[in-house]
Subunit: 394 residues, 2 copies
Amino acid sequence: MTEPSPTEASPTEFSPTDAFAFRVDATDGPARTGAITMPRGVIRTPAFMPVGTAATVKAMYPDQVRALGADVVLGNTYHLMLRPGPERMARLGGLHRFMGWEGPILTDSGGFQVMSLASLRKLDEKGVTFRSHVDGSAHHMSPERSIEIQGLLGSDIQMQLDECVRLPAEPAEVERAMRLSLRWAERCRVAFGTQPGKAMFGIVQGGDVPALRVESAQALVALDLKGYAIGGLAVGEPQAVMLAMIETVEPHLPRAKPRYLMGVGTPDDLMRSVARGVDMFDCVMPTRAGRHGLAYTRHGRINLRNARHAEDTRPLDETSSCPAARDYSRAYLHHLVRSDEILGMMLLTWNNLAYYQDLMAGMRRAIAGGRLADFSGETREAWARAEAERAAGA
Amino acid sequence: MTEPSPTEASPTEFSPTDAFAFRVDATDGPARTGAITMPRGVIRTPAFMPVGTAATVKAMYPDQVRALGADVVLGNTYHLMLRPGPERMARLGGLHRFMGWEGPILTDSGGFQVMSLASLRKLDEKGVTFRSHVDGSAHHMSPERSIEIQGLLGSDIQMQLDECVRLPAEPAEVERAMRLSLRWAERCRVAFGTQPGKAMFGIVQGGDVPALRVESAQALVALDLKGYAIGGLAVGEPQAVMLAMIETVEPHLPRAKPRYLMGVGTPDDLMRSVARGVDMFDCVMPTRAGRHGLAYTRHGRINLRNARHAEDTRPLDETSSCPAARDYSRAYLHHLVRSDEILGMMLLTWNNLAYYQDLMAGMRRAIAGGRLADFSGETREAWARAEAERAAGA
């Protein structure tokens, strides 16, 4: 799983450069494989970014995350601005040093978590005012302050502040938020300025309204940003809607720039989105599921809490190169999960991130070989076969 | 910290044998250093046994525990009999395979946790009846059943069932419990029978009453067991009482057999008890403290929750060979502890177990060199110096 692949260049074969650059090495339909190069390292794409919310990928040592093949991790600006605080983080030498991660870090703008976690939110043209969910302290975040905070954290890829609307929503509301996000993108672009080797990405909004999505994409492309995210998806809509929105937006995004689908998703979501031209992903799913007894594997999603595993001496995946998948029985994992043991969370998180990185590496190889559809089909078939066996055994 | 010492034999220089054997290699006053050899490996003494309550040393991968220099871990019979259950554990191949620990395992009898954790306890000559704290199910544990369970778990060193009285207690109550424990020791000895390569230890009781302690020790020695534990200490009494009881008992224990002080203790407790002839220890302190933001270090005990660490870029101990002690700033550990992050528990547990194993290795070398008093004095001085500095800085 973490072994170098014969058909994929290893990150050391690419030289990180002083500049932020993106290169497509091969395509397979809309799907692409390539690399982002930047001073802190190379991000092989399509890439899955483990989420390191509060300066830690939960229940993982940083060197484990790296060893699994993750080239970049995500930090959450909202959490880090509250604790330890951006000015303090800067005094401590920045997020990379703080959390012991030397590779590239992407930070979100903080806006999404403000809207989902903070209390007493007030949003207007200037930005958003809110109270911390940690200690109730009052904060204001403008587009300029979001970029300033991300700079203080030392982030390599920074995201514009945007407003993300939960679906379903009224088209008028979606349109208002999309236009506000566009105006904020311009202000973030000015605030970011020119930072050699770093990048700021814009975020396409527009909910489930194709015309708004296209308008948002075109307006952002006109700003000539370093990369483009598709935001406001995986917020309650069916997978088909999400995929349709990707298909709507993709033709309007420049081929020479990376595309990042925010907050997505399941392994199936990743495969279907890569097939539609997405280069980067982040999601709490593998880490959060790991803390709740769920394993993502070659054999589908396995709920270790289920009593059927109590005497199952098989590992999660005997062919994996990840010790968590290979060296512990399902019976033991079941016991750890049932007993609320930290080691259960550690092992399942490790397994899940390994599986996600393995899936990304498999897709990169498949795209390079022009056989992404076969790879995805075989992967899905293996899940379905194992799940049918489990259902028959129940 | 985990590096081989020039003056100490590495475990591979000892051959594990088919038989359970104990050898004293050097003494320094009452203190001794040596080794227990048995089929599953060699335990260098004095030894600290990390506690693996529910088949896991909490927040640690098994190979980390081994790499720190732990030769043996402790399993809790009470927890394991409730979950996953002894018969199930036997079907799964035993505790070693279950938890991925190939070295020796010592199990307690279950009695202590029954009295501290279970509800609706009823204790009589036959044993103890109780309800599980997990699901309320009814259980009975006799001396014979305790040994049977420990056998089903596959334990290498098994403990007699005893009754442990919390101090302070009435002498009559202490005496009653001590005599019951002696009768149970005889029954456990019969139940254990002869098991090549395995051992059953008796437990000296008698609270804080010297005459009872001596009587208990002498009666147990008459049973010719493989090793002797001192139980019923570190249960609320001052350290001076504990040390006095060790001094009372020690002359009555055979020099050719290992002595195990149960449930002890702080690093200072360990040094003072080793100086009084104890060979083995177990305690939840390093692991439990690690989950509560406390670090044991060469610089004394450090409470990472304290705000003074918020901008302290120093590691816990830059000279340690343990990555948790060396590669992360106190500011980062403070942040993780304040944020209730699992990684904080992982790193502090790792640090603490490393420090405990380092302390044991240091004591073994010091005894071999006839300089245990100097070693202990210097260690205590370093703690005091650092603690005085912290107090002055506050």
